[in-house]
């Protein structure tokens, strides 16, 4: 029932991922539009709260996570110089994972939620998702176990680390929270999940992708082994501590607060080490970004990663937090990492890997260009609208401007965000269409080749 074809897991996870980016972003665009016309689709299923949670959960656990798994099903065996342990199991896990995501999606639209940011699926979905993630991790660890290459390239450290950290984060964040006393404790547990889904999954798999893609796309050696060591171990050590910075100035004890602020700033060490390594590798290759869209996506991703991590440590400071907390600013920041940085590197991974799998280059270079520019310009419009909005909103609250008035003040910015968001959304159709065409043509060409061979034989 499930195919054993070489690289089929990678390809199929990518296809599913792109299906979900369209659905997930539709939910996002609907959320943004509801901020302008609250009456829109105001029925039992599509209330604001339902749609917003569905958007967040789908883009992270459906789109981005499936794109990550797709990349890993190609990059891990390549780095290990072996085959995937079981393509069949990879394809089975994909079908299972998608069923679970569908369940979660409908549960959220029905109003079932755990009310934990980034962990909103109800318990019965969480359990199944854990099994699906476990299957993927098992398959990939087995693959590395059979490796023909003695050394582990740095991307592999990140991938294997992330495949352990995600289930761990998922367990700690979703399960004990049902039994511990509610209130501050649950908030802290919830942000252990929230932050580590960001820090030990989205960030680390994404960084692993970049470490793989840059040397391949530029043909240049990786700049420094020592920097990769510093970057990896410092991320692994400090990222888990960051949860409390999401509750800054909240009712948490001072020492927990400090235990969250300090690692947030110390994170500058791994982030800059990793970026120095990336840009050292890029030396002499910057001009290639003009012609190579995958390389341009990767490099733009590293730049957005830098900006996310310049904002982040500042946001963690109590003084800055007192202005931007609960404002639109955070939403702007929250899209820079997951979209600007790591969706971009995932796009690059798809554009690099898919042609290798199907044996023909991407159907349309112009669609790739359109995908890049719509995504980038759209994101910048989106993000700057929200950042300006957040600062205005934050200071208005401090001044004591009546709340309703501050809501009305946000009108132009919320519209700007929806316009940027529409561009980001449109961009993804170029990706989907281009993938569809490429895969279809590749199949056709293979068939023709086979016929020709049969005819000449």
């Amino acid at each position: 029932m499930f195919t054993d074809e070489k690289w089929s897991s990678s390809k199929n996870w990518f296809i599913a991922a792109v299906f979900w980016i369209i659905i997930g972003m539709s939910m996002g665009l609907l959320t943004a539009t509801k901020q302008i016309w609250p009456e829109l689709l105001n029925n039992r299923w599509f209330t604001y709260g339902h749609v917003r949670s569905a958007h967040v959960m789908l883009v992270i656990y459906a789109w981005l996570s499936m794109a990550y798994v797709g990349s890993m099903f190609y990059m891990i065996p390549k780095l290990a110089k072996t085959k995937v342990y079981s393509e069949k199991m990879g394809n089975f896990a994909l079908v299972f994972y998608n069923i679970v995501i569908l369940e979660g999606f409908f549960a959220l639209l029905l109003g079932q939620t755990e009310v934990i940011e980034y962990g909103e699926f109800p318990l019965w979905v969480d359990v199944q998702l854990l099994v699906a993630i476990g299957l993927v991790a098992y398959n990939l660890f087995k693959t590395v176990g059979r490796r023909q290459e003695k050394m582990l390239y740095v991307s592999l450290w990140y991938f294997l680390g992330s495949l352990l950290w995600l289930p761990l984060t998922w367990i700690v964040g979703n399960f004990p929270a049902q039994w511990i006393p509610s209130g501050v404790q649950q908030g802290l547990m919830g942000w252990f999940l929230g932050h580590n889904a960001i820090g030990l999954w989205m960030t680390t798999v994404g960084v692993g992708q970049i470490y793989y893609l840059l040397p391949k796309l530029t043909g240049r050696p990786l700049y420094s082994h020592q920097l990769s060591m510093i970057g990896f171990w410092a991320i692994a050590t400090f990222y888990v501590w960051n949860g409390p910075h999401h509750l800054m100035n909240g009712p948490i004890p001072g020492w927990i607060s400090k235990a969250g602020v300090i690692p947030s700033i110390v994170l500058l060490i791994p982030v800059w080490a990793v970026l120095a390594n990336f840009w050292g590798t890029m030396k002499g290759s910057w001009s290639q970004t003009r012609t190579s869209v995958p390389l341009r996506f990767t490099v733009a991703g590293t730049i957005f990663y830098l900006f996310a991590c310049l904002q982040g440590p500042l946001q963690a400071l109590p003084s800055v937090s007192s202005v931007i907390k609960f404002t639109h600013w955070t939403v702007g920041h929250a899209h820079m990492g997951p979209f600007g940085a790591f969706s971009f590197t995932s796009f690059a991974a798809i554009y690099y890997i898919l042609p290798k799998i199907v044996g023909r280059e991407m159907f349309s270079k112009r669609a790739m260009e359109a995908h890049f520019w719509f995504s980038t310009v759209g994101f910048l419009v989106f993000a700057f609208s929200l950042w300006i909005a957040g600062v205005v909103q934050g200071f208005a609250w401090i001044e004591g401007v009546p709340f309703l008035q501050t809501v009305l003040m946000m009108e132009p910015y919320v519209q700007g965000r929806a316009i940027g968001g529409t561009m980001m959304y449109v961009a993804q159709f170029f990706l989907a269409w281009n993938m569809y065409k490429t895969i279809k043509l590749a199949k056709l060409e293979k068939k023709q080749q086979a016929q020709q061979q049969a005819a000449s034989a």
Binding site: P221, S224, H225, Q226, S228, I262, I265, A273, S322
Partner: protein, 131 residues
Amino acid sequence: MKKEYQQHDSKEADIVSDIKIEHNRVPKLLVAVFYVVAIWAIGYAIFMPGKLAVEPAAAPQDNKGELIFEGTCLSCHATGAAPDLSGVTDRMPEEDIKNVIKKGRNTMPAIGHLYTEKEIELVYEYLKDYR
């Protein structure tokens, strides 16, 4: 076969999984940043409170009625979802107004349990000046 990693500064590259890895030195600027961040971290841990220091409110709040009115009542009464309350004390007796707050009326929910008798009194006082 030289495959061992070494912490040296040679330009000789290792090859892992067909990817070349160089051994360039960590840039000096970065090392400086590492030290600054580390020293800051220790200083912050020892000397800072880890939260925003909030001065206790200077005077006891004498605008509680206004705060409740703006924070709660206006969410409905300034949106068109509920009647405009300017001058309401002229058209309704005190007892009725307080009863609407405590027990609700038609589509207005009862919110009496959220406030003390004193607070409801303060809201009423505020309403007298609200026109």
